[in-house]
């Protein structure tokens, strides 16, 4: 009696879950293999992170590298493990909701301490 309109993820033997080819280094039929490759990517990025920190770059470069790699890993986990690539747009849009509020939180709480930014005006250039 339930009429779930979830044909998008009608899971049968033959998964119609394409992985982007660059992720799996070529076409792969078996989603298990696809997920394994995603895992290997995650391992790779983690090693890159550790390597980056051992290089001891400057503060700015370190921040960009670490944050960037974290964001990439986040994308991998979200898109594939959490199924967002193949989910309906409702999921992606729901997940995007906190973005604005997170930014407000980080700016307002993270950067308003007396030592953080001496004068926001100076930073913003006026």
């Amino acid at each position: 009696m339930s009429e779930e309109t979830n044909s998008e993820h009608a899971h049968d033997e033959h998964h119609d879950h394409p992985f982007p080819t660059w992720v799996t280094f070529g076409h792969t039929k078996d989603p298990i293999e696809g997920f394994l490759k995603v895992f290997l990517w995650l391992v790779f990025w983690t090693l890159l992170e550790v390597g980056a920190i051992l290089q001891e770059f400057s503060f700015g470069v370190t921040m960009i590298v670490l944050f960037g790699i974290a964001a990439i890993k986040c994308w991998f986990i979200g898109s594939f493990f959490m199924h967002m690539t193949w989910d309906p747009p409702l999921v992606t849009r729901t997940a995007a909701v906190p973005t604005f509020f997170m930014i407000v939180l980080f700016l307002a709480i993270g950067l308003t301490s007396p030592g953080a930014v001496d004068d926001l005006r100076a930073v913003c250039g006026f």
């Binding site: 509020f101 407000v104 939180l105 307002a108 709480i109 308003t112 301490s113 926001l120 005006r121």
Partner: protein
């Protein structure tokens, strides 16, 4: 002739002098100290009762007696008695203090050649001399008795003299200390006296138990039932309530619980107003610390245990009806959300049983709340209780978001949702994103208090302002969380009683959504005096003023709705109209406070208290009382008494304004908030406010009576007594068990014409 007259005159004078002498108050407060036997006995029995019009000891006078740790027989010790507190803080000067001390054993004696202390002839105690009454500290000696395995009790009285007025307006206190000999066996001291609030709570408990006994006993006698049968009968009635997951019953539980806590919060509010009836010294009615607990618990109770539950109660009851669903998406989770409320409330109030409830303000600013000066464990209970309440709100938010987005009936598109539903949807969206921040803040506070973390510890380099950021990031959306549903209720009532749809439905929806989003970027206006960055303050001032625009749009839309309609003036509508007026006033004072320079002057004063009571009581509470009058027929199938309703409105509206409007004035005059006393020049205003507030409080009893009376004797309501058009009015009153027998389809009026 003169001689005869002179004789008469001199006799007359003598008599006059004798009368004067006998009429002279022979109080215990002799500037010469307590020197005669009779007075001594009176003082030992009653204390320095001639001082202080209340003849009671006052907690604010602190009598400090410095004693050695223990005594050895025959040794002589130097003791110091010191007085502080009381009507004035000057330590020395004419007529400042007096004392009287007894020891149950051993011998007290003044130090040789000391002119400040005397031991009256033939008596065993020490007291001050005339010269000694200009001081507040006296030193003397005590020689221990022969035995050193006994304990000696010292009773010291101190009188804090205000330097004039005879014995009026002096305050005294007494201190009893037991000193043990080196070989004495120390007895464990028994429990101290109960605090005021503890007494009240125990009194209520005793009354409740007595009532329980009477009710059960009555049942046993009149129905000839055994004790177990009576209990089983009640259990059978209660058990369904404990286990329900039906949105209507959970909603009813929420509403009843919310109003019950509203009354408790109201009593706390009346305690505040009684305290502020006149300027008082510490301990006169409440101690200053008890006052801090009172306004803290008043605020926390009103917002978290009254306003939000009432809102969720109506939401629970009505949202599924308004969107045409059978229940919420997660009914059991809903029940969990509800039960976290009374249990969390009990945890919150546990402080009253353990030495003092949380006294950190409902805003709980650090480092006061993270340090030693806040009550312990009262403040810890305050934190723990709110963690539970925060969890409750989060689960509710998840439930409602899923329900309202997924479970609408056919035809109920988003832009056809009733405005109350829209208001709840946006409210839960705000809850979803702001409560977690507050919960984390509470956990950090608990960690600082309990586990020694340093998040708010200045010495460790932390920033107590972090708390303010975290709190107000939640706190500001929170106040919109309590007002948006009120806007929703107003829209419902005004449209039904103007007999026309809302003017500008789309703009109403967008206005509420805009208010919701902007509410996250205005919170800095609570922090104008923290030394925050000027640019941050400027941005926040602008956004705060900006949020008035959508709010104003809503107010104008309500007015336009009424202008274009034909008004039916029943109680719900009367409350709605009153709400629009008082909320608008509150909104305007909010804009006044948005201006940084004005706020810096008025921050933490009564102008702010006036502002938020106008929007919270004049906005949320009045709107939801109107909501009760409006939806009561739907929920119970009975109509409420119209006359009582109008009387309730008149009393509430008049006395609410009488109580809270003058707060703007005293605030502008500089009266600070959260102070247990104030400058004497504002006494008349405050007395007026207090009396008005008490009448306002008591007039709510009319409402309570109406609710109960109408449940038994109200007129039958029928499905749609007010001729409303939203889906809840299509089902019976009260709705059947599964709310709708068939899921309805919402049609638009134009469609039906075909």
């Amino acid at each position: 002739m003169i001689t005869t007259n002179l004789k008469k005159l001199s006799i007359g004078f003598l008599i006059a002098i004798l009368v004067a002498i006998t009429a002279f108050p022979t109080g215990n407060g002799l500037p010469t100290g307590i020197t005669d036997q009779n007075t001594t006995e009176t003082v030992i029995a009653n204390g320095c009762t001639c001082h202080n019009t209340d003849t009671q000891a006052t907690n604010s006078v602190i009598v400090n007696l410095t004693l050695p740790g223990n005594f050895t027989s025959g040794e002589t010790y130097t003791l110091i008695l010191n007085l502080s507190g009381g009507p004035n803080e000057l330590s020395d000067g004419e007529n400042r203090g007096g004392f009287f001390i007894t020891a149950s054993d051993g011998e007290l004696s003044p130090i040789a050649n000391d002119s400040l202390v005397q031991k009256p002839f033939g008596l065993t105690h020490l007291t001050h001399t005339v010269e000694g009454n200009d001081y507040r500290e006296w030193t003397f000696e005590w020689t221990a008795p022969d035995k050193q395995d006994i304990s000696v009790e010292f009773v010291a009285y101190g009188n804090s003299v205000n330097g004039g007025d005879g014995s009026q307006n002096d305050y005294w206190n007494k201190q009893a200390i037991t000193l043990y000999g080196v070989d004495a066996v120390i007895e464990i001291e028994t429990q101290k006296e109960l605090s005021g609030p503890q007494k009240i709570i125990y009194a209520f408990a005793i009354i409740a138990v007595t009532l329980g006994v009477v009710v059960i006993g009555n049942q046993m006698v009149t129905k000839d039932q055994a004790f177990e049968e009576v209990l089983k009968g009640y259990w059978k009635a209660i058990y369904p309530w404990l286990t329900t997951t039906d949105h209507k019953y959970v909603g009813t539980l929420y509403i009843c619980t919310g109003f019950a806590w509203f009354f408790i919060g109201g009593i706390l509010g009346l305690l505040i107003r009684w305290q502020l009836m006149e300027p008082r010294v510490d301990g006169d009615f409440l101690t200053y610390e008890e006052y801090n607990s009172t306004f803290t618990m008043h605020g926390t109770t009103m917002i978290f245990m009254a306003a939000m539950p009432i809102i969720f109660g109506f939401a629970n009851y009505l949202i599924p009806l308004q969107i045409g669903a059978r229940d919420l998406a997660f009914p059991r989770l809903n029940a969990l959300s509800y039960w976290l409320l009374p249990t969390g409330g009990i945890v919150l109030y546990m402080g009253y049983f353990t030495g003092g409830a949380g006294d950190v303000g409902w805003t709980g600013y650090t480092p006061y709340s993270s340090g030693d000066s806040s009550t312990t464990p009262g403040t810890d209970f305050w934190v723990a209780g709110q963690i539970m309440l925060g969890a409750s709100s989060t689960l509710t938010a998840i439930n409602f978001m899923v329900t309202m987005l997924r479970m609408r009936a056919p035809g109920v598109t988003m832009m056809r949702l009733p405005l109350f539903s829209w208001s709840i949807l946006i409210t839960v969206f705000l809850l979803l994103l702001s409560i977690p921040v507050f919960t984390v803040a509470l956990i950090l506070l608990m960690a600082d208090r309990t586990f020694g973390t340093l998040y708010f510890n200045i010495d460790a380099g932390a920033d107590p302002i972090l708390w303010q950021h975290l709190f107000w990031y939640f706190g500001h959306p929170e106040v919109y969380i309590v007002i948006l549903p009120a806007f929703g209720v107003l829209s419902e009532i005004i449209t039904t009683f103007s007999r026309r749809p809302i003017f500008g439905y789309t703009s109403m929806v967008y206005a509420m959504a805009t208010i919701g989003v902007i509410s996250f970027i205005v919170y800095g206006h609570h922090m104008f005096t923290t030394g925050a960055d000027p640019l941050f303050r400027f941005i926040v001032m602008l956004t705060t003023m900006l949020v008035a625009v959508p709010t104003g749009i809503k107010i104008f839309n309500w007015l336009a709705t009424m202008t274009g309609g034909s008004i039916v003036l029943k109680t719900p509508m009367v409350f709605a109209l009153g709400t629009v007026i008082t909320f608008t006033i509150g909104g305007i004072t909010g804009i006044v406070l948005a201006s940084i320079p004005i706020d810096i002057a008025l921050h933490d004063g009564y102008f702010v208290v006036a502002h938020f009571h106008y929007v919270l009581v004049g906005g949320t509470i009045f709107a939801f009382i109107g909501g009760v009058y409006y939806w009561y027929p739907k929920m119970t199938g009975k109509m409420m008494n119209e006359k009582l309703g109008l009387l309730h409105f008149a009393m509430s509206f008049i006395f609410f304004n009488a109580a809270f409007y003058p707060m703007h004035n005293v605030g502008l005059s500089g009266m600070p908030r959260r102070y247990a006393t104030y400058d004497a020049s504002l006494a008349d205003m405050n007395e007026f406010i207090s009396i008005a507030a008490m009448i306002f409080g008591f007039s709510q009893l009319i409402f309570v009576y109406n609710v109960f009376y109408s449940y038994k004797n109200g007129e039958e309501a029928g499905d749609d007594p007010w001729d409303g058009w939203s889906l809840e009015w299509t089902t019976s009153s009260p709705p059947p068990h599964n709310s709708f027998t068939e899921i309805p389809t919402l049609k638009v009026a134009e469609e039906e014409k075909q």
